[in-house]
Amino acid sequence: MNKCKRIVLFFFVAIATVQPAYAALKIDITQGIDDALPIAVVPFKWLGTAPTRGASIPAPEDIAAIVESDLRRSGRFAPIPKRDLVGRPSHGSEVNYTAWRALGVDNLIVGHIAPLVDGTYEVQFQLLDMFKAEQLVGYKIRSRRSNLRRTAHQISDLIYEALMGVKGAFDTNISYVTLTRNYRKENVYRLAIADSDGYNEKIILESKNPIISPSWSPNGLQLAYVRFRDRVGAEVYIQSILTGQARRVATFRGTASAPAWSPDGKRLALTLYKDGNAEIYLYNLSRDTKVRVTRNSAVDTEPVWLPDGSAIIFTSDRGNGPQLYQVAVDANGVRGRPERLTFEGTYNARASVSPDGKFVAMVHRIEGSYRIAVLERETGYLRVLTESRLDESPSFAPNGSMIIYATEYRGRGVLSAVSVDGRAKQRLQFSGGDVREPAWSYFKK
């Protein structure tokens, strides 16, 4: 029985691996910005031939298509349609700058992909400025076949950085939870990770019980999350993405929930209910020790760290209704008193801090609807970014450009991403059911 299960599982994994990468999440751009940069991405020249038989083998991956889709998805670029391209140069030396300028294109991306004798590939690209008639950035990257999508995302990151002045976040992962029903109409929850464009989905955990609140370890190798169990309630686990090995942590009496990995990777901020109500603790993963952060009869939960690890922002209803508070922490615990951050509206919860620490995204209730809002720390200005009814779980991209969150679309749970200025929006739809609880990873090391 057990053996049979293993074989089935093995084949499932093997099949999943040989199939070409597909996207479990389908992404639609729902709102681009008006002044998006016109750019042209020329299909990369394939330098592969089959020397003995003469039959041509297609390129293993359409690098240009992945780059174009990345740039379009950011909302900052308006790639021109393939049919409008004036020529198919693969190197800067072949480019007729006047013709591309006449087309209204500011920047051009050209390149090639070539097979090498050892079975790997060489991908070369150049980003060219049409007005200065010069190369802004160009690289030759060697890549394994299985890594070519990642190479394309890395190219997108370099192009984004050259033109926007901030590193791109295309070569990153997202994690999320899907909810489907099996043939017995039972709920099936899956904790998954995927590339930032929804490709290469990998299931981390499957359960008939709910899974919430995934949090990435800073090195991207582990996830912390909350699992519910019958007659037990919420428990916190950490799991290795590579091996799948999971262990329960913070095994104190009563409910444990809302884990948030510290920027140094050593601690989890989390909520324990052992004191009679929700209190925030800092839990040291290697020592299995804890330090208490909050102490009052109100609900204190949803802790997140400032990027430098110097403070925790959390949700508390110690005032009237849930609001965000900040408290300084160090290795020994709390330093000073919590300070209230939000004053607009009667419901502000579930913070996500931008990587530069300047913005705090949150769930904000306005006219009975729960929307994503962002607070500019310095000015105290609160901007509501979304228009729907049940938006939740905001999570900043590691470059701070977008916030991914969960929402509803046509009765289904979907993910959406919105730029911090609210101008660019995209929707990530899961084909098989509901998708929720997004968490954007850190940059890959």
């Binding site: 093995f10 019980n209 007659r231 799948g244 809302a258 609900v299 949803e302 849930p322 609880e437």
Partner: protein, 172 residues
């Protein structure tokens, strides 16, 4: 091609390892799921079970194992008080019985805040049981937040059924 197959096999082995560790763990929770589903449906049916010897008013209250709450509130309503009192009497008289108080919230608001809200509701019920003579050791408080709604739907009629505490007797 050989190399690729090697990678596939390697990943297969990783999957195998991951599968083995999680399979055994999943199995126990699957069994638990079945038990709880039975309990939940029992609670929703308001069946009296073995309460026939009690006089009808109390038996009626005791047969109810779910109490409901107002939006964003953990205040116990008058109707809920009667139900809780019946259970308090039952538990105080039978110290071998124990209950899990399972708090729930509607889908509005954040998931983790709703875990806290569900827990707070279950705590409110616990306090009423304790002041009426139930031992703390007979009661376990947990919360499922908004994760296990009793009614699907995105309107008040569904939400009002989801803001609840379920009183689950052990072994029932």
């Amino acid at each position: 091609m050989n190399k690729q197959l090697g990678i596939v096999l390697l990943i297969g082995v990783f999957g195998l390892m991951a599968g083995c560790s999680s399979t055994s763990e999943e199995k126990s929770s699957d069994e638990a799921t079945t038990t709880a589903t039975d309990t939940t449906s029992g609670a929703n049916m308001h069946d009296g079970g073995s309460m026939s010897e009690m006089h009808s008013g109390q038996a009626d209250a005791l047969s109810k194992r779910v109490v409901y709450f107002e939006f964003d509130s953990s205040d116990v309503t008058a109707e809920a008080r009667d139900i809780i009192s019946a259970h308090a009497q039952n538990l105080a008289q039978n110290s071998s019985l124990s209950v899990v108080l399972e708090g729930h919230a509607d889908e509005r608001g954040t998931r983790e805040y709703n875990v806290a809200l569900g827990e707070r509701r279950a705590k409110a019920v616990q306090q009423l049981l304790v002041v009426q003579g139930v031992k703390a050791s007979q009661i376990q408080v947990i919360s499922f937040g908004e994760e296990r709604p009793a009614a699907m739907g995105h309107d008040e009629s569904a939400w009002s059924l989801n803001r609840r505490v379920e009183i689950l007797y052990s072994g029932s």
